[in-house]
C-alpha cells in the first residue's frame, strides 16, 4: 500500500469499523435491527441480500450519510456522533463509491479528483493534480482527465468515481452497489478496478450482487435481510454451505 503521509497514520486502530447494537428507523419502519459488526483493518467484506434488507443503509451509516437512533459506530478509532467535526474526520478517512457515480457534472474529471484534496486536505493544486493523475492512471483513464463526466461512458464514470475517492487516501472504501447502474458490458472494467484495489489490502466494504467478484476478493461474506445480519461466513463456506434458510434461498435465486 502507498505511504499515507497524513495524521490518520498515527491513530490507526486494529479495528477499522466497529458497529455496536445499531438500530435505525425510517419513520415507523425498522430498517436496521440490532446490527453488530467488527471489521478488521485490511479486511474485504461483501454484503449481499434482497433489496430493502438495509445493506445500503448500513453502509451509509458508516460515513454518517444516514443517521441512526441507537447504538454506536466507531470508524478508525473515531466515534461517530452528532459532532460535525467527528463526522468530517471520519469522512476524510472513508471513501465512498455510489451506485449512480455522483460525479460533479460541472467539473472536469481532473477537477472532480482534485477538489477534495485541495479543499479538505489543503493540498497545493499542483500536488493534487499529480496525485489525481496517478489514480486516474491506476483506474486506466488518464487520457480522459480534461473531459467533463457527461462525455464518459458509465463504466468510465464509475472508475473516475473510484479515483476521486482514492485521491483522499482513505483507509476504508465503501462501495454501494457500484455496478448496478452499469450496462452489462461495462461491469467487468469496474470490477477489475476493484479487484486490483483489493490486492492493496485496503479495508473494503462492498454492497454487491456480483458473486464472482465476491468469491474472488472477499475475506468475509455477510448476508442481510429485513434489516438484520443473518449470516456471516468466509466465501467458500458461504457459497458452498449456506446455513440460514434465507441465505440458501437467496443464493439459489441469484446463482441460478
Amino acid at each position: 500500500m502507498d505511504k499515507r503521509p497524513d495524521e490518520s497514520e498515527t491513530r490507526r486502530a486494529e479495528t477499522a469499523v466497529e458497529i455496536i447494537a445499531v438500530n435505525k428507523w425510517f419513520g415507523e419502519f425498522h430498517v436496521l435491527r440490532d446490527i453488530d459488526l467488527k471489521v478488521a483493518r485490511g479486511e474485504r467484506i461483501v454484503i449481499c441480500g434482497p433489496s430493502g434488507s438495509g445493506k445500503s443503509t448500513l453502509l451509509r451509516c458508516i460515513n454518517h450519510l444516514e443517521d441512526w437512533q441507537s447504538g454506536r459506530i466507531v470508524v478508525d478509532g473515531i466515534e461517530l456522533n452528532d459532532d460535525p467535526k467527528q463526522i468530517v474526520a471520519v469522512r476524510r478517512d472513508v471513501g465512498m463509491v455510489f451506485q449512480q457515480f455522483n460525479l460533479f457534472p460541472h467539473l472536469t474529471v481532473l477537477e472532480n479528483c482534485t477538489l477534495a484534496p485541495i479543499w479538505v486536505r489543503r493540498m497545493p493544486k499542483r500536488d493534487a493534480e499529480t496525485l489525481a493523475m496517478k489514480y486516474l492512471e491506476r483506474v486506466k483513464i488518464p487520457e480522459q482527465a480534461q473531459k467533463y463526466p457527461a462525455r464518459l461512458s458509465g463504466g468510465q464514470q464509475q472508475r473516475v468515481a473510484i479515483a476521486r475517492a482514492l485521491c483522499m487516501n482513505p483507509n476504508i472504501m465503501l462501495f454501494d452497489e457500484p455496478t448496478s447502474a452499469l450496462d452489462p458490458e461495462m461491469v467487468k472494467e469496474v470490477l477489475d478496478t476493484m479487484v486490483e484495489l483489493a490486492s492493496d489490502r485496503i479495508t473494503m466494504l462492498v454492497v454487491s450482487h456480483e458473486m464472482g467478484f465476491a468469491r474472488q476478493v472477499a475475506d468475509r461474506m455477510i448476508f442481510m435481510a429485513d434489516g438484520q445480519i443473518l449470516e456471516i461466513n468466509e466465501p467458500k463456506g458461504f457459497f458452498d454451505h449456506p446455513q440460514h434458510e434465507r441465505t440458501r434461498l437467496f443464493l439459489q435465486q441469484i446463482l441460478r
Binding site: F98, N102, L103, A116, Y148
Partner: protein, 387 residues
C-alpha cells in the same frame, strides 16, 4: 467480412454501410426559406400575415422617427407644424437640449466630469467582470466589489479633504440615479437572495423561519410599499441625524425587494440538484459551506441563470418607481423635461417617452443577450446528461 463457418445464418452483413452526406434540399437560401417560412399552408399564411404587418407598421414609424424628425432647433418652433414642415415628426432637438439633464439631473455642472469618470470606472468594471476570457478576473472582482464602491462614493458624494466638493444626493438624477440604483440592487440582491434561499432550506428552524418570513413578507407587498416604508417609516424608528440619506433608503428598499424574488429563483435551482450531489460532496469530507460554494451553487446558478437575468431586467425597470419618494431617476427627468413650456408641442411627450423606451430597451436587451451567450457557452462546455 466473410462468414466464419458454413453454419446457416438469417442475415450477415458483408460490407459496412458507408456514411453519406445529408440530402441537399435543406441547404441554401431557398432551402432555408422553404423549411422555415413555407413548410405548410399554415406556415405560408403566417408568413404572409407577418409581411403585411411589417409593411403596415414599419414605414410610418420610420417616417415619424427618422425621415420627418426634427434634429436641431432651440425651442418649440422647430417642432410644431409650419409651412416648411407641415407634418412634424419626432422632436429630437428637444432630447438634445435636455440630454445633459437626462444624464446628470441637477448634479452641479462644474462637477459633472466626476459622473463621467464614475460611468467610465463602472463600465470598465462591468467589462472586466463580464468578459469571460478577460485576464485576472479575480482582481476584476476585487476591483468591482471593493474598489469601485469606495471610488464611486468618493467621486459622486464628494470628499472635501481631497478637493472634491460635497454633492448631496438630492442633486443626483437622471441616468446616473437609474444606474446607481440598478447596479446596487443587482449587486446586493444576488448574494442576499442566495443566503435567503439557503436559509429557507436550512435545518435550523430559526434561520428557516426568518428567511421564510422575510421572503413572503417582501414578496407579498408592492415595491412602492417597500419604498414608502423605507422612506417614511424608517425615520420614525431611527432618530433623524442617524437616519440614512433618502437615496440610500431607496437603495435598501430596492435591494430588499429584489433579493426576496432572487431567493425564490435561486431556491428553484437548489431544488433541481440531485441528492447524490450533496451525498458525494459530504462523503468527500466537504463542510456545508464548501459543499454549497463548490458543488451546489455552481450547478444551481447555472440552471437558474435565465431566471436570474429575468429578475435583473425586472429590477432595472422597477427602478423607475423611486420617483414615488421624490428621487429623480431617468424616467422622472424625462417627465419633468416634457412639461417644459419652451418645448410644448404635440410631439414632445411622444419623443421623450420613445427616447426613454429606447434607453430601457437597449439596457435590458443587452442583459438578455449576454445571458444567452453565457448559457450557450455553459451548454457547450458540459453536455448535461445523466448525473
Amino acid at each position: 467480412m466473410a462468414a466464419i463457418s458454413d453454419m446457416p445464418v438469417q442475415f450477415l452483413r458483408q460490407a459496412p454501410a458507408a456514411s453519406l452526406p445529408p440530402p441537399a434540399s435543406r441547404a441554401g437560401v431557398f432551402g432555408w426559406l422553404r423549411v422555415n417560412l413555407c413548410s405548410s399552408p399554415l406556415n405560408i399564411a403566417l408568413t404572409l400575415i407577418c409581411i403585411v404587418f411589417i409593411a403596415w407598421v414599419v414605414p410610418p414609424l420610420l417616417r415619424f422617427f427618422l425621415i420627418d424628425a426634427t434634429w436641431s432647433g432651440s425651442d418649440r418652433e422647430a417642432c410644431i407644424a409650419s409651412p416648411a414642415n407641415p407634418n412634424p415628426g419626432a422632436c429630437w432637438a428637444f432630447i438634445r437640449v435636455w440630454s445633459s439633464y437626462f444624464v446628470y439631473g441637477f448634479y452641479p455642472i462644474g462637477q459633472r466630469w466626476r459622473v463621467d469618470l464614475f460611468f467610465l470606472a463602472l463600465a470598465f468594471g462591468i467589462g472586466w467582470l463580464l468578459w469571460l476570457r478577460a485576464p485576472r478576473r479575480d482582481i476584476g472582482a476585487v476591483y468591482f466589489f471593493v474598489v469601485l464602491p469606495i471610488l464611486s462614493l468618493v467621486l459622486l458624494g464628494g470628499l472635501p479633504l481631497i478637493g472634491l466638493s460635497y454633492v448631496p444626493t438630492n442633486l443626483w438624477g437622471g441616468i446616473l440615479v437609474t444606474i446607481v440604483v440598478a447596479t446596487i440592487g443587482m449587486v446586493f440582491s444576488l448574494p442576499l437572495g442566495i443566503l435567503l434561499a439557503l436559509g429557507r432550506r436550512s435545518r435550523i428552524p430559526v434561520v428557516r423561519w426568518l428567511s421564510i418570513m422575510f421572503i413572503e413578507f417582501v414578496r407579498g407587498v408592492p415595491l412602492i410599499t417597500v419604498l414608502f416604508m423605507a422612506s417614511v417609516m424608517l425615520p420614525l424608528f431611527v432618530p433623524e441625524p442617524l437616519a440614512p440619506d433618502k437615496l440610500v433608503r431607496a437603495l435598501i428598499g430596492v435591494a430588499m425587494f429584489a433579493s426576496a424574488y432572487m431567493a425564490e429563483v435561486v431556491r428553484g435551482g437548489l431544488v433541481a440538484i440531485p441528492r447524490g450531489q450533496y451525498e458525494a460532496a459530504q462523503a468527500l469530507g466537504l463542510t456545508y459551506w464548501r459543499m454549497t460554494a463548490l458543488i451546489i451553487l455552481p450547478q444551481a446558478l447555472r440552471v437558474t441563470l435565465p431566471n436570474i437575468v429575468n429578475v435583473f431586467i425586472a429590477l432595472f425597470k422597477d427602478t423607475t418607481l423611486v420617483f414615488i419618494i421624490g428621487i429623480f431617476d431617468f424616467l422622472r427627468t424625462v417627465e419633468v423635461a416634457r412639461g417644459d413650456q419652451k418645448w410644448a408641442s404635440p410631439v414632445t411627450s411622444l419623443t421623450g417617452y420613445a427616447f426613454a423606451a429606447m434607453f430601457y430597451f437597449v439596457c435590458c436587451y443587452a442583459m438578455s443577450r449576454y445571458a444567452q451567450r453565457v448559457e450557450a457557452r455553459l451548454a457547450r462546455r458540459s453536455a448535461y446528461k445523466g448525473r
